[in-house]
């Protein structure tokens, strides 16, 4: 669309660039996490930062997820902009108190005296046989925590632009990266590239059905959309990119137009983010505009199993998306 020059980068490299650029412009940023310095992070997102910024700003921490999250909150309170890496985002379970009872609430409890410019980021590791304790995608928990911002990028460009915005935002941000997307390449604009928080992006336009999906589910949905297009069904894929704040206007506008909503999300079904999107959309689109009941395509309500056929069965698949769209088209 625009004339901005781009380069092809993996999502991991795009995230790495975002960190590097922000650390160059703001000396109050420090990065802390397990194996992020010497090793550059298990998935190379922090590679090279130690050499460039030294061990005081790029810290290999003890295995203490609660403490590094809490230290991030404390650092933010006194004017730094810490970026905390959780090696696998599931480990946030160990840090929920520091994140939610502290990071998310400190500003409000203080009556607005402080802000908490903190980023807590980490990979969603499902789909590769890491089993139940390394394969959750817990965005629904964070969306339910007032005070947090929740971001989940689906492309290299969004990843870079959103991480930069997250670091500059004065609020605590949970930034969720899909591990299987780290190596996926995409065009990233040259120069300063910022993606605004709270603005959805229509990843594909279509007149028949609106799919709302973030992160890896965007790629799955686009695949389904291409397949369905061959059958004459035109799917619009709306990627909110930030789950909180949610760009409900963009979603509602699309759904009002198509009259059909399918939400795709890899989290467990019960109490998942897909339920939230359905419920919120109902607040904004009159029932009479719906041509079909909204559908949710989600993971099943099980812990994530190890073996290939089981994990495949439990996570949402291309066929699941295609059939959901087919169902709403038939309704």
């Amino acid at each position: 669309m625009s004339a901005v020059a781009t380069r092809e980068l993996t999502m991991a490299d795009a995230l790495n660039e975002a960190l590097r650029e922000e650390m160059q412009r703001d000396p109050t940023i420090f990065v802390i996490g397990e194996d992020i310095a010497r090793h550059g992070g298990l998935f190379r997102v922090t590679a090279g930062l130690l050499d460039e910024f030294g061990p005081r700003r790029v810290i290999d921490s003890p295995i203490s997820e609660a403490a590094i999250t809490g230290a991030g909150v404390g650092g933010a309170l006194i004017g730094c902009r810490p970026v905390v890496e959780l090696q696998i985002s599931d480990f946030v379970s160990l840090a929920m108190d520091q994140l939610v009872n502290h990071g998310a609430k400190w500003r409000y409890m203080s009556g607005g005296q402080v802000s908490v410019p903190l980023v807590v980021r980490g990979p969603i590791s499902n789909g590769i046989g890491m089993a139940a304790q390394h394969s959750q995608t817990l965005e629904a928990w964070f969306v339910h925590a007032p005070g947090l911002v929740v971001i989940m990028p689906s492309t290299a460009a969004d990843a870079k632009g959103l991480l930069k915005s997250a670091i500059r935002d004065d609020n605590p941000v949970v930034f969720l990266e899909k591990r299987l997307l780290y190596s996926r390449k995409g065009e990233v604009p040259d120069g300063e590239h910022l993606v605004p928080i709270g603005v959805a992006d229509v990843k594909r336009e279509g007149r028949d059905v609106t799919i709302v999906a973030a992160g890896a589910s965007v790629q799955l949905s686009l695949q389904a959309a291409r397949q369905l297009a061959r059958e004459g069904v035109e799917v619009e894929v709306v990627d909110p990119r930030t789950l909180k704040p949610l760009d409900i206007d963009a979603i509602a506008e699309s759904v009002a137009r198509t009259g059909r909503l399918v939400v795709v999300n890899e989290g467990a079904r019960a109490g998942g983010f897909a339920s939230e999107v359905v419920a919120r959309t109902l607040d904004h689109v009159p029932l009479s505009d719906f041509k079909a009941t909204p559908e949710r395509v989600t993971a099943k309500d099980t812990p994530i199993p190890y073996a290939t056929p089981l994990e495949r069965e439990v996570l949402p698949s291309l066929e699941d998306v295609v059939s959901a769209v087919t169902r709403v088209m038939q309704d």
Binding site: G75, G111, G112
Partner: protein, 334 residues
């Protein structure tokens, strides 16, 4: 000895006055709770005044503290004003936190008060991170984190202490060992004598101090603060003390032995320090009475001021959830 007020005497009587203020503040807060001006609870610091006052006497204004559910004493010792404190705990718009925090969550950034935390031991990692961040910014400020004996059994105590050690963060962990956690005696919580000994497990000094001796507390804190400022890392101070009231206004039952209580009442840190001041000629008994009276008057004034203050505007309840941001345009907040 005479009781001419020398510079030293002034500083010492100031400590006495601060302790008296805390004592008076808590008594008033308990009354206000009984009269239903305060909701939730109040956890009086009564009997433990020497700890906060001694520690904060070793701090500069630009140093920071974090605090607990039993936080009024720390606030007063760090120099917070009584009026906005009282307004906060009575839920008024003029409170430090505009009524959003209440008794367990007073924050006052302009006094170096990073916040009270109702999660037991919850602020220790924040304190370590704040201390590290200050150092990274080239400041020589330190952070003191107060917590209770009960809090020393929380995982975050361990993680924060160890993280602070490896970061050489300028933080001082002050464990107020009042020997009880609500109804649970310390003997149910640990199998060791001194919590300070745990510092050895992190590789920094641990010191036990008589928490009812304000000058002893000040001295041990001063050493720890100097160490931290020199970049030599954290210290764990265990101040042995006792709360001479029940746990809180909302939990008034007290199952502690009467002779244990009277043993500690006899060691009241304010009475004791007053006696020392008189004996050393720093103050006359009359001067102390005057200070007590002054403290009481300040507290009464604060309460009056607070109760005359307006309640926060309900329509503004959703303010302050997020810091200003581009995305925070009306109607866009998820």
């Amino acid at each position: 000895m005479t009781s001419v007020e020398t510079g030293a005497s002034v500083a010492l009587t100031q400590l006495y006055l601060t302790m008296a203020r805390i004592r008076a503040f808590e008594a008033k807060a308990m009354d206000l709770f009984a009269e239903k001006y305060i909701r939730g609870s109040v956890h009086p610091y009564t009997g433990e005044e020497a700890v906060a006052v001694g520690v904060c006497a070793a701090l500069r204004p630009e140093d920071y503290i974090t605090s607990t559910h039993r936080g009024h004493g720390h606030c007063i010792a760090k120099g917070l004003e009584l009026r906005p404190m009282m307004a906060e705990i009575t839920g008024r718009a003029t409170g430090y936190c505009r009524g959003r925090g209440g008794s367990m969550h007073i924050t006052a950034m302009r006094h170096g008060m990073l916040g009270a935390d109702a999660i037991v031991a919850g602020s220790l990692a924040m304190a370590a991170g704040a201390a590290y961040g200050l150092q990274l910014q080239g400041k020589d400020a330190v952070v003191v984190a107060f917590f209770g004996d009960g809090g020393a059994q929380q995982g975050i105590f361990h993680e924060a202490a160890n993280l602070a050690a490896v970061l050489d963060a300028p933080v001082i962990f002050v464990c107020e060992n009042n020997q009880w956690a609500i109804s649970t005696p310390i003997s149910c919580a640990i199998r060791i004598e001194n919590i300070a000994d745990r510092a050895a497990g992190y590789g920094f000094p641990g010191e036990v101090v008589d928490g009812n001796d304000v000058l002893a507390v000040r001295d041990v804190a001063a050493r720890a603060v100097e160490r931290a400022r020199r970049g030599e890392g954290p210290t764990l101070i265990e101040a042995k003390t006792y709360r001479i009231t029940p746990h809180s206004a909302a939990t008034p039952t007290d199952n502690r032995a009467p002779d244990e209580l009277s043993y500690w009442r006899e060691r009241d840190p304010i009475v004791r320090f007053g006696r020392e001041l008189v004996e050393a000629g720093h103050a006359s008994p009359e001067r102390l009475e005057e200070l007590d009276r002054q403290a009481g008057e300040e507290v009464e004034d604060a309460a009056e001021w607070a109760l005359a203050s307006p309640y926060p505007d309900a329509a503004a309840a959703e303010e302050d959830v997020y810091a200003p941001a581009d995305w925070l345009t009306p109607g866009r907040l998820a």
